[in-house]
Amino acid sequence: MTEALIQVRDLWKIYRLGDVEVQALCGVSTDITSGEFVAVMGASGSGKSTFMNILGCLDRPTRGTYRLDSVDVSSLSADQRATIRNRQVGFVFQNFNLIPRTSAWENVELPLFYSDVPLHEQHRRAREALTAVGLTGRENHLPSQLSGGEQQRVAIARALVNRPSLLLADEPTGNLDTQTSIEILQIFQRLNREQGITIVLVTHEPDIATYPERVITFRDGQIISDLQQRPATLRERTSVAAG
């Protein structure tokens, strides 16, 4: 058997706030195989966001190892982690985090700034990513001229533009209405099925967690359940919304 894309062993994250020690993660171990679509659930303060930041190489664990694509990334320098974020990881945030007063097109191209992709290739890839999220014809709009759903699509296109092996979505539907949320999840599902991109989706909404095929639940910095499920399909979703 080949090694899992994400291999986490006994991960600890301890923050020190003055004299108080906060244990955000207490010995988390799990594997996520390439091509999986995983939901990470938990109440706020359960450690799921910390887990996600470590998976995305934005943060480093206090103890334990994290191997991404067979590379131990828990001990890399800040610059090396920046390279990993650039090449292997795509982020989608709750509040979209697009750069204001900068066109959708340029927002999508942003990760390519910091890679060695040549300029003509850069334009081609940005177009490809925008097409993948169904956002053609609005490339030159500014974020303020786009709806929430459209902004999140731009953010997804940006996450995809460097062809990462891992897509991390932190409450991506938190600021969206139900219909738009479903559209965004559809995009995730399609990307996962058609392009085989591994997706880790952090959420606290049980509704949303029905779409992935696996649900990991956190409480107090530990994994309390890790279940496989048959993901909800498009038709069932529509009937739920109607009912």
Binding site: A82, T83, N86, F91, Y114, L119, R158, N162
Partner: protein, 410 residues
Amino acid sequence: MKLLRMTLRTALRALRRNKMRSALTMLGIIIGVAAVITMVSIGQGADAAVQNQIRSLGTNLLMVIPGATTSSGVRSGWGGVSTLTAADAAAIKKECPSVAEVTHFKRQIVQVVYGDQNWATAAQGSTPTFQKVRDWPVSMGEFFTQRDEDTANRVVVLGQTVVDHLFGPGEDPVDAYVRIKDVPFRVIGVLEAKGQTTWGQDQDDVLVMPFSTAERRVLGTQFLGTVDMIFASAGSTEEINTATQEITTVLHDRHHIQPEQENDFTVRNLNDIAKASESASKVMTNLLLSVALISLLVGGIGIMNILLVSVTERTREIGIRMAVGAKARHILLQFLVEAITLSMVGGLAGAILGIAGAQLISYFAAWPTLLSPAAVAGSFLFSGAVGVFFGFYPARKASRLDPIAALRYE
């Protein structure tokens, strides 16, 4: 390369977005650079003008002036008594190795008459070496020779001002006869126009004739052989001080001056005068320059201030850039490029303004200005350095942000 282009584009856009703010930030640099260039232009222009005037008196010129005499308790300053003679001049020429040429003269105001025109001017009786020592060529005709001097010939060389007053336009003064104190003289040459001295005297309002002619036929004298002044030229600029020493020693001996006595002559050289005026204008230039540099520094602090505001405003943007793979040095570069763009654009605008300012001042105030390419390039580069120096702190602050905290920043 691609990164640099993108960074520059991002920087320009960020600055364009806050046009008013960017312009006000640049103002300090603009004023500083413009002030430096204008000040240096005026300073160098004034300096060059003064140096030119001083040099017009002659190269490496030493003046020996009679005077500083104490006779039975009556003291007088230089020029008080005629204590110098033509023989002194000859001795200087003979005994001072550092002296290349010597001339001496006697001068008196005389009335010159030509046809129905007349003009009062300074008549100088001098030697054929006058021309060499004063570095003063003729524009027409020729200067008198040793033969004219030996035979006390009645020939005269006129200054341009005298020619202008006596002769009509287009009239050839050479070979014309003029009368000086009722003695007819043949004009053999016209001296090139030299213009005014530093102290505003018209150097061209003069006529020169052989010393012997002046002494015997025109000016007359109480004591034969006394002269008003001796001019000597040192062999080179380096020899000026040695020449001064040698002349002092020679005259000291010839005049039998006792150790406790004051000298009855004074040796002055033009380099001292030039240096004095140069150092005066240097002090002024340096003062103005330091004010201008302070303005540049204040401008730099303005840039730093606005960049710190910008870093805070764009904290989340920095977080986003870091999340998608920007390294610390990318962020550092971006803000540094913004700072340098601000200061260089300001420097360029300041340079244009400074050059225009110098031109306007020389046009309206009629001050001589000399545009110094070194000052323009120097102040422009300095403004760039100000950008780097004052941009570095905010840029480093931005590059050290924690990506997670920056992403959450509200």
